[in-house]
């Protein structure tokens, strides 16, 4: 990858995504959450209740611990299991939201033992739509969706380039800074929520960055 515009070719057309790929995605995501937990909590202390980093840390630690014990059969089962753990352990709104994202994506993948990037793209769209439905938010409300929607769109428009998705998510997260929050606790702040990057959009961008990193590490 050298920059924008190369994404169309960065996904090997015959790439197959198996359980190991999705385990790697979640393991990389957990490591990124560990590394960035302080920053996520700091962003959350500006417009939220200062627990986003520690909540996700608890959730993703539980996901990796569970994945070490269990060997779910197939990509769908890996994501469903991870989603359940997040709903059970995070303790804040990001638990059911990320839990729903992974669980619905996993359910959409069904019980195939391997999936194509195109199938994953379709499944992730279903997952993102479920998040929008659960939280009742839309793009521009200064939420996770400001990173997830552009990421899903970029996947669809780039023959499922994961680095294009990561870039779109990061761009979406940065673009939340001037927005006024319209959902969640930050919305109580009204105009005072303007000028801060949304913690949920930021962690969503991490999740997409983890996807791209997992793909790069996959032979």
């Amino acid at each position: 990858m050298t920059g924008e515009g190369d994404h169309v070719t960065d996904q090997k057309p015959d790439r197959i995504l198996d359980s190991d790929f999705f385990r790697r995605w979640l393991t990389v995501a957990a490591a990124m959450v560990e590394r960035e937990a302080g920053r996520l909590t700091e962003l959350d202390s500006a417009i939220g209740d200062a627990d986003h980093g520690s909540n996700l840390q608890r959730g993703f630690r539980s996901v990796t611990a569970e994945l070490e014990k269990e060997s779910p059969a197939g990509p769908g089962a890996v994501l469903v299991l991870a989603g359940r753990r997040l709903i059970s352990t995070v303790g804040g709104a990001s638990g059911p939201l990320y839990g729903t994202l992974l669980r619905r994506t996993g359910k959409a993948l069904g019980d195939a033992t391997e999936v194509t990037p195109g199938e994953f793209t379709e499944a992730l769209r279903a997952g993102v739509a479920a998040v929008a439905q659960l939280g009742g938010a839309k793009v521009g409300d200064k939420t996770m969706l400001d990173a997830l929607e552009p990421a899903a769109e970029a996947l669809g428009a780039s023959f499922s380039s994961f680095s294009a998705a990561a870039e779109a998510a990061e761009k979406g997260a940065l673009a939340t800074v001037p927005l006024q929050a319209r959902k969640g606790r930050a919305s109580y702040l009204g105009e005072r929520s303007i000028g801060h990057q949304d913690p949920g959009a930021t962690s969503s961008a991490l999740l997409m960055a983890a996807l791209a990193e997992a793909a790069e590490a996959t032979p």
């Binding site: 627990d51 059970s88 990001s94 729903t100």
Partner: protein, 136 residues
């Protein structure tokens, strides 16, 4: 209720103290004697502020008598966690329902109705109707 079983009530708050206190208050205002089963699921298992799917599932199982369970919630993650548990399908009893209601007033209305033998629809209607109780 044809089979005589009562609807159970679960109160989900970010705070264990709030959920417990609202349960106590609802029992008191529902009038002395035996009331329908009500359980609090507040805060996190370690006593912090937040929402715990384990506490919610346990509370729902505790009050389930087979006539349905009305779940009242405060805000944010409490709403989203119950919704996602309901979408899951197997972590809450059959007949569990998220009820759209103000937390305190709705809890009282729900428990009074459930204690009088109202079914789940009646309990939900009473709790939701509490939104119409304007104070000014």
């Amino acid at each position: 209720m044809s089979d005589g079983e009562q609807v159970g009530i679960v109160l989900v708050s970010h705070s264990g103290a709030v959920a417990e206190a609202v349960a106590v208050m609802a029992r008191g205002l529902a009038g002395g004697g035996a009331t329908a089963p009500v359980a609090a699921a507040g805060g996190t298992p370690d006593g912090g502020l937040g929402t715990s799917s384990e506490l919610i599932s346990a509370a729902a199982a505790q009050v389930d008598r087979g006539a349905g369970v009305a779940i009242l919630v405060d805000l944010g993650s409490a709403v989203l966690t119950v919704k996602s548990l309901l979408a899951e399908g197997d972590e809450l009893p059959a007949g569990a329902r998220l009820v759209d209601a103000p937390f305190v007033e709705g809890a009282v209305a729900a428990l009074v109705t459930a204690s009088a033998g109202g079914n789940l629809d009646a309990v939900e209607a009473a709790a939701t109707e509490a939104y119409q109780y304007h104070k000014v």
